[in-house]
Structures are given as C-alpha cells and as structure tokens.
C-alpha cells in the first residue's frame, strides 16, 4: 500500500450549534480504494461525508484532496474538482426526467459522454424519459450514481447506498462498486455489514462521533468481526 493518499482528513471536528458531532477525525483514502465507514445511527457518518463534500463546514480540522484544502470551498467547487457526494435519501429531482437529471450533471461538468453511465446502468437508457418521481428506489440509486460519474470524479462519497433497496439490487450494487472503483475511489458509509464485507477493502468503525477502529485485515472485513466496535 505504497500509494499516496488522495484524500486526507485531519483532526476534523464538527458541531450542530452547541452539539458536537465529530471528534478529531483522522481518515485517508487512496486512489481507486474502496473504503467503508460503519456505525450506528447518529454516529456522525453522514456529517463526516457532508464535511468532506463541503456541504457542512467543520468547526476545526482540514480535508485535503490531492494536496488542496477543501474546507472553506463551496460544495460545487469540490464537486467540480472531482469529489462527488451521493446522499442517502435517494433524492433525484422528482420533476425532472432521467435525461434532464443527466443533462444537469453534464452541464455542471462539461462531460456529455453518457455511454459510461449506460455501461454501468443500461436500464437508465430505457427509462430516459421517465420523471424522477416515477422511479423505484433502485432506479433512483442508479440515476444518482450515474449522475455522479459524469465528469470522471476521482472520489465518490456514497451515503447509505443500500438503504431501502431489495437484496437483488444490493447484489447488483456490489458489482457496480467493484466496477466503479477501477476509475475512482469510493468511500461509503452504512450499517449494512453484509454489503460492506463484500465491497470494502478497508473499514473504519465509527461510534459517537469518533473513529474507534481501522480494519484492514481482509478476513476480519469478510467476517464482520469488527462489529464489537460499534
């Protein structure tokens, strides 16, 4: 693992008003790596991802992406730099068709090559004129990832990707994550340990706003033997 870090989170703290949520987070991601953060509800996983994507401003600490400090930058700048956030609520723009959703991402990134989207998610080509409001949870997840990979991001931050999805769709997502990681690093957060065991090369365990363990052993990840940390 001699590769340099693509993303480094250093001494990151965050709070909502007076309520402190993240405590001295230290984390790194290497190019094309699949990393997962696991933890219970309220552990601070989503807050951490949002801080990394500049959707929230941390109280102290830094997020370094390819040598550039991201704290203080606007979220659209971070997205354009190649660090994309996909949130957990499966929110696509409901009044917009699949085509319009993709057009927006193309407009933002200047990348109009939709073939790579359809390569990963051929179903989106069939659904191209369907409005977001009429897509299933799995289809919305496809569209959100499809939107995000336009512009060739180097890091995808994917929040709870399996939440509310049928097991067969989760299986497809495992394959998709492996395929996507050929082109970019993935940091995903969630509570679905079975999914994590199948996609992650490295796992951080998070509890009450702190990263309490880093698991790199493949066998430990496969067997979910880190669950006692949570």
């Amino acid at each position: 693992m001699g590769r340099p870090n693509m993303v480094e989170v250093r001494s990151l703290n965050a709070a909502y008003g007076q309520s402190k949520v993240l405590f001295d987070i230290e984390l790194n991601i290497k190019p094309n790596e699949r990393v997962a953060i696991v933890g219970r509800n309220g552990a601070g996983k989503t807050t951490l991802l949002k801080c990394m994507a500049s959707l929230l401003t941390p109280t102290t600490g830094s997020v370094i992406y390819e040598g550039t400090e991201l704290v203080g930058k606007r979220s659209y700048e971070v997205a354009r730099m190649g660090l994309k956030y996909i949130d957990q609520d499966k929110h696509v723009f409901l009044d917009l068709t699949v085509r319009e959703n993709l057009e927006l991402s193309s407009y933002a990134t200047g990348d109009y090559n939709w073939d790579k989207v359809f390569k990963h998610f051929p179903k989106l080509k069939i659904l191209i004129d369907r409005k977001g409001a009429f897509l299933s949870g799995g289809e919305r997840q496809m569209l959100m990832i499809g939107r995000a990979i336009l512009g060739d991001p180097k890091v995808l931050l994917i929040d709870e990707p399996t939440e509310g999805l049928a097991p067969s769709i989760v299986d497809d997502l495992v394959t998709t994550f492996h395929e996507l990681s050929k082109d970019c690093a993935i940091l995903t957060v969630g509570q679905n340990l079975s999914f994590v065991s199948r996609v992650a090369e490295r796992v951080y365990a998070m509890k009450e706003g702190k990263l309490v363990a880093e698991i790199t052993d493949e066998a430990e990840i496969k067997n979910n033997s880190y669950s006692h940390y949570l």
Partner: protein
C-alpha cells in the same frame, strides 16, 4: 346586466390578470428557488412604471421607455441581489421578508425624493379599439393580454427547454443537491432574481397607462399579488397563471355584479381554495421545505 358590460368586464379582468401574472411570477420563482419572500418585487414594479413615465416624457416613445425601464431594473436588481439579498438566502424566510420589505420602503422613499408625491400619467401607446361581439375593446388592453400570454409561453419554454431553466426547476426541488452536482447555485439565484425583477418591472410598465403612477402603487397591489401567489401555489408558474386569471375575473366581474365584491370576492375565493387545497391549486409538497 347587458352582454356588452360582461364582455368589457371579462377583457378588463384578463388585462388585469396579465399584470398580476407578470408581477407574481417573480415572487413565485424567488420563493420556489431561494425560499425567500421577495417583497422588493413591488419596488421594481413601481420603478418600472416611473422609468417608463420618465423616458416616455423625455423621448416620446413608450417602447423606448419600456426597454429603459427593464434595463434600469436589471441593474438595480443585480445590485440589490449581490449587496443585500444574497446574505439572507440561507436564513429563515422571515429574514428575507423583513429585509426585502426594508428595501421596498427605502426604494419608495427614494422614488418620492426623485419624482415627488404627485401621481404621473402615462399615455397608452396603442390607441384605437376592436369590436368584439358588438363591444368596443381598447387595443392596448388586448395587447397586455397577448403580452402576458407570450411571457407565460417564454417563461415555460425557458424553464422546460433550456439547461438553465432545468437547473432552476431542480433547484426549486432541492437547491443543495443542485450545488452538489457541481452547479454554482449562487449564480442561479442571481439569474432567477434578475429575471423575476425584470418581469415585475414589465408589470409596472404595462400597468402604467391604466393607472396614475404613484410612489405607493406597489403597496396598493400587494394584497392582490399575494392572493394570486397563494391561490396558485408557491413556486408554480402554471398555478400563478391560472390564479391570475381567476383573481382578475373575480375582481372585474365582481365589480359589475356589486362594486364591493371587487375587493371582497378574491379573498373569499382564496379562503375556499385554501380550505380545499391548503398548498394552493398547483402547489406541491415539494414546497414545504
């Protein structure tokens, strides 16, 4: 009640609907995208009317005045948005209401200082009339109706067929997620605010020949404008158009039936519609954020 009176009232109502629509489409867009109640739109409405009065008086051309009014408003709105309004986008809606009400009051004060308190007349740029079913209908009123329809089509085209419009529609749904895609939402806010303000100015321009241009003209139309926005559903352009048609006709036909109805009936209609559909005719749950 004779037929000619009814036809006159319908045409009058339609032209008022045109004014209401142009004025309220901006309010609706501003709330939809930025979640702000932009009370300064009433200032741009009055500014449009005063600028068309001034330029028309100086050049003799109403059309040049209309163009000048919209350009002036574009510059003023840009300055207000960049210097003042953008500071409250992330704050609760009450902040934007108070702030933009302050901008409105300040602007009205400036109007009084520059143009004085005496109401100003603006001559109708289109003379003559057309006969519809034996009723003489002023040509300018028909022009206002057609202009409002053209603006509605143009706004719908902009929102549905251009990428900037698509981004605005997406932003009305969820602005944060538009930004997360890599789109500068702040620029989108500026474009939307300027578009809204120029349309408000256009409302003032076309309304000027119907009324005497006065500093308080923005204030006096506020209640009707809010009725249109609320009945139609905040953030919906189609709703704004339908609602403007309803309010225009209720005011106009109400006055024919019994004069006090012109003031009362729109409120009654609003109450009934809100009792049946609290989000307004075309409002959706999307707007609850």
């Amino acid at each position: 009640m004779n037929g000619q009176l009814i036809i006159s009232a319908i045409v009058l109502g339609l032209s008022m609907s045109g004014v209401y629509f142009l004025l309220t489409v901006g309010l609706s867009l501003c709330y939809g995208l930025m979640r702000m109640i932009s009370l300064d739109q009433f200032l741009y409405y009055a500014l449009g009317a005063y600028m068309v009065y001034t330029i028309t008086a100086a050049t003799g051309s109403f059309w040049l005045g209309a163009l000048g009014a919209m350009l002036t408003t574009l510059i003023v709105a840009f300055a207000v948005e960049r210097l003042i309004n953008k500071r409250v986008y992330s704050k609760p809606v009450m902040f934007s209401m108070i702030l933009t009400f302050g901008v409105n009051l300040m602007g009205v004060g400036l109007i009084k200082y520059i143009w004085g308190l005496t109401p100003k007349p603006v001559a109708s740029p289109i003379g003559g009339s057309l006969h519809i079913l034996g009723t003489s209908v002023p040509g300018y009123r028909l022009f206002v109706i057609l202009l409002a329809v053209a603006v509605y089509i143009a706004v719908q085209y902009f929102l549905n067929k251009t990428i900037l419009g698509t981004a605005i529609r997406a932003g009305i749904d969820d602005a944060e997620k538009v930004e997360a895609l890599g789109i500068n939402i702040s620029r989108l806010f500026t474009v939307t605010f300027i578009l809204s303000s120029v349309l408000s100015a256009l409302a003032g321009v076309i309304h000027a020949p119907f009324v005497m241009v006065s500093p308080e003209m923005g204030m006096s139309i506020t209640a009707f404008a809010f009725m249109v926005v609320i009945i139609g559903g905040l953030g919906s352009i189609k709703g704004t158009m339908v609602s403007a048609l309803i309010v225009g006709q209720v005011v106009s036909l109400g006055a024919v039936i019994w004069a006090p109805l012109a003031e009362m009936a729109p409120f009654l209609v609003m109450m009934i519609i809100l009792l049946i559909k609290p989000t307004g005719l075309y409002g959706s749950k999307l707007m609850s954020r």
